[in-house]
Symmetry: C2
Subunit: 441 residues, 2 copies
């Protein structure tokens, strides 16, 4: 074989979330062939899912097709499918897609399959309180939130109307805070005047968390500021409150004062994540350990112990108690890609991954956010402008089209809730989908 | 009872499509209380469904919430639900919504429940060749169209790849022509360069019709021009060709030369409409006749024979062989509203509905359309600009927000196909939805 025809080093990346996609992009000029495997054809900008669930952005605006993002990267190809099994001896990944099953061989493997919602062992809650992890989740919640107001309008029983107009968000991290804020804005500012039989301002939005503060990872100052803004928006915040049961018509909570039931048609689960089944399978196959959430305990350089050719990044990796945020995924994905490049260049590898904390951001409502950057804290409009700039810059890096950026900008600035469609398919599909996912190997 | 407290004349409008919505709007300043009943919370701009199915517009952009459209009309209220039964003696409409059933009484009734897809008695085709009547249809087709390219990329059997890259559109009216044109544009102009294993340009787009011309109602000149533009885009047009069978992997057609099978994964049904079950029920209850498509044979003033208080408009009415287009629905809806206003003002009623034909428009691809206005014909860029102006003006009339118009404008002008998300729910829901609809009374 001519040396020019030597097969190139094959890198397989599982997952096109922040970790997998940025790892792939970081390999752009490397002498490798990258195969990126993802269960959907799009990258998901997860931190904005709440905007889809509340009618501000369309699903396409937060889910650019992976092929479009990677159009100019000639050494990367994208394949649709869910990786179900990794064989670290044969260096092979088994994948299933609708109607097709196939395998891909690798020389280096980056596992970035993300995390799924955790109901802390109570998976039966999922049907009544959808999570906030996928486009399907967001569209389901969009249908439920706007549908609750529609059904309240035609309902005559006062107790049923109250139940329909009570929204409970479980989990006061960024996602939960943002959801609660947006539903409050919807009910108190946007929808009034559009109904005849009900007043949307009567809606109760309740944010529940087992911890004693909201946004507990943001520090005391921003935590207090976020709580103040939530109160101003009319959100009822119930802290040190544990959810013990969820059913179709309500939720049961427990505090130091005992148990209590909240009647509520629409519940949203924004608490807790778990590593996917693939993490457990890979741990078994390699003898690696996992933490309580099922994440792989990796070496400081993000490799799986005993397998210098397998990297686990982002939400799948348990390392230094790093938080499950986009920046950790992006930076660890890039670190893994850098290690592969070094190895191929014959340079020493094994450098530990060092996370650079760029800060935290959470919007409470339009024109109002909290942000911490290093020692600096921002709240209100200034925080929101920072949030806007960060998100628009991120988008510009992704979509090359002026029109797409314009779309986004218009959606962020505008007062509109133009995306309010509920499909009939949602009503029937959720349970069937769950059954399918449980059947996946 | 004080005369100021006299109950106002109650108008019930069934359906918030073009007919029902414009009838409601025309009653804005009339001394009536209008109740508008619709199965979804949004008005659907049906002529642009094909843009949702091919990733150009988001569903929210063609489906404004009815309440938002009617926000400033104090005498109209909107109720979610499907009208299942009309009692012309008790003057009552029975309605079902998720989990609730209710009735509404009327003094005047405008029935504008539209039309559904007709498979000419072969409803089993629906599963394999979705229609183009609802948001659910469009999203289902969006998932199938973009999904076909994704599955072709991971498929290894050449016959399966060919089948996945063959798209058959049944029906060469405006909807079918626009769908075929957009899929061709997608395959030949937009997607090339994004795949590694397949070349999207290999895709075949086949437009089938039993008639000998495309856009047969547009006249010979535009018909020929549209055919020329379709050929230029690479669409294979098979005329005088009847569809005799549809299954999961293909379609069987019949011409004068006999039967033939076309292997195709993605089939789209854009041929034939039928009146809804409500039309048949109302005919039975009033003794009115229906035409072959199940539409009500109405009096020249759009009232149902023997019931001067019941109007049937738009796609539900059989009158003067008027076509099932938006303008007929809008104008007949306004005519019915005008008749009610006259009756309440003590003026003579019974004036026949006269349709004013404003012309026909169909886009073949971006920057290219055919249009006929009176004796004038436009094709190519001029036709497309006319199409753009008409649609933007229509939208301005609907949405009051500058941001919404900006969004639309950007989408029409841009090259983007930013709305490409397929949900998992679609895979499981279609059959369940059909079963539900068949169970509706």
């Amino acid at each position: 074989m001519d040396e020019h025809e030597q097969p190139r080093h094959r890198v397989v990346v599982i997952g096109a979330g922040f970790g997998g996609l940025f790892a792939t992009k970081a390999l752009k000029n490397a002498p490798v062939d990258v195969t990126l495997i993802n269960g959907t054809a799009y990258h998901l900008f997860q931190p904005l899912l709440y905007q889809v669930a509340t009618g501000i952005l369309s699903e396409g605006e937060i889910a650019p097709p992976i092929r479009e993002v990677l159009k100019r990267q000639k050494n990367a190809k994208t394949l649709l499918g869910t990786a179900t099994h990794i064989d670290p001896v044969a260096k092979r990944v088994d994948v299933v897609a609708p109607g097709v099953a196939y395998s891909v061989e690798y020389d280096s493997l980056i596992v970035a399959a993300g995390a799924s919602q955790s109901y802390f062992g109570k998976n039966e809650f999922a049907e009544f309180a959808p999570g906030m992890k996928s486009i399907d989740d967001a569209l389901e919640l969009r249908g439920r939130i706007f549908g609750a107001f529609e059904l309240a309008e035609i309902e005559t029983d006062p107790a049923a109307i109250d139940r329909l107009l009570t929204f409970v968000v479980v989990g006061a991290g960024p996602t939960g805070v943002e959801m609660a804020g947006q539903i409050a804005e919807l009910a108190h500012r946007h929808l009034p005047g559009q109904y005849h039989n009900i007043d949307p301002r009567q809606a109760r939005i309740i944010l529940v968390d087992a911890l004693p503060t909201v946004l507990s990872t943001f520090g005391d100052h921003l935590s207090t500021e976020a709580l103040r803004q939530l109160h101003k928006l009319g959100v009822e915040v119930e802290l040190s409150t544990k959810v013990v049961d969820v059913d179709e018509s309500g939720i049961e909570v427990e505090t130091d004062n005992g148990r209590r039931r909240i009647e509520s048609s629409t519940k949203i689960w924004a608490a807790g994540v778990a590593a996917p089944a693939l993490s457990v399978q890979l741990a078994q196959a390699t003898g690696a350990e996992t933490d309580r959430a099922g994440r792989l305990k990796v070496n400081p350089d993000t490799t799986v112990p005993g397998h210098p050719e397998i990297y686990a990044v982002g939400d799948m990796m348990a390392l230094d108690q790093l938080p499950g945020v986009a920046q950790v995924a992006i930076q660890s994905g890039r670190h893994a890609a850098g290690q592969i490049k070094k190895r191929l260049a014959g340079q020493p590898t094994g450098q530990p991954f060092k996370y650079f904390d760029k800060g935290s951001l959470a919007t409470i409502s339009r024109f109002s956010a909290v942000a911490s950057v290093g020692r600096f804290h921002f709240a209100g409009l200034l925080g929101w402008l920072l949030w806007l700039v960060v998100h628009l810059l991120y988008l510009v890096g992704f979509k090359n089209r002026v029109t797409a950026v314009l779309h986004w900008f218009v959606s962020f600035i505008g007062r509109g809730r133009s995306e309010r469609v509920a499909t009939f398919q949602q009503v029937f599909a959720r349970r069937a989908l769950q059954e399918y996912q449980e059947k996946l190997p």
